[in-house]
Amino acid sequence: MNLLRWQRPELAAWQSFGGLSTLRNEIDRLFEAPLTELARTSHFLSGSAPVVDIYEDKDNFVVKAELPGMKKEDIDVSLHDGSLSISGERKSEQKWEDAEVHRAERFFGRFQRTVALPSAVDAGKIKAQYKDGVLTVTLPKAEEAKPKQIDVQVN
């Protein structure tokens, strides 16, 4: 019978670098992805800034941010001078304070991300939805920023 419990050396938290696995992903990608792909996804040093996608259609800009494991009320969305800010705080869980930590790759703490929008939006009609850890902000374009069809009369 083995009465000695083998104690694993504790892994240091490496949160400021956004997690070891992210770093590993980046290294994997370095060998496998073309350089442009690498530049596009290289955000492992960003730490506390969530990654975003921005889309545009005729009437709206749509910003999608990855914010896994948040409470809806802990996310703030605001608009200043044509820039959209997404901020908030992911609170660490008291529940696991006494537990032995084997891996700590998730980010906890305050985060913020600001994106400049290419044209004016109607601040009163901005909508945000949070589902499956992805925040989707829909920003309708201001009337003056929408493309207009101008009929040109040629005589």
Binding site: H43, D57, P68, A99, V101, H102, R106, D132
Partner: protein, 123 residues
């Protein structure tokens, strides 16, 4: 948990291109292990957890998102998530449970009764 020993799948290049490893936290208590994995964009339907031999594989497929016009800027990964861990033999695999909330998967892996620490009463 041998769960800290991660199965390396990088020898299979095709696979490592297809998937991205989610960030995880793993905690151990007297009762068992808890594994949390960040998989934004994955709902309950896209989740697949398999226990095979001494390994646990977590796979998360992103829900299809409505195409919202032309992309102006993209930095989100589009790959599905996958990561493999080796299990501590102390885990009672029949009692493993999982849930996903706002893109965070929580897998609870209780230790079997026989390995839990217990106090022996001295008569």
């Amino acid at each position: 948990m041998q769960t800290t020993l991660e199965k390396q799948t990088t020898n299979n290049r095709a696979e490592s291109v297809e998937y991205v490893a989610p960030n995880v936290n793993i905690f151990e208590t007297e009762e068992g292990y808890v594994l949390q994995a960040e998989m934004p964009g994955v709902s309950k339907d896209g989740l697949e957890i398999t226990l095979e031999g001494t390994e646990i594989t977590i796979t998360g497929r992103r829900s299809p998102e409505a195409v919202a016009g032309e992309p102006l800027f993209r930095e989100r990964n589009t790959f599905d998530y996958r990561r493999v861990f080796e299990l501590d033999p102390a885990i009672d695999t029949a009692k493993v449970s999982a849930k996903i909330e706002q893109g965070v998967l929580t897998v609870t892996l209780p230790k079997s009764e026989r390995v839990k620490p217990r106090k022996i009463k001295v008569d």
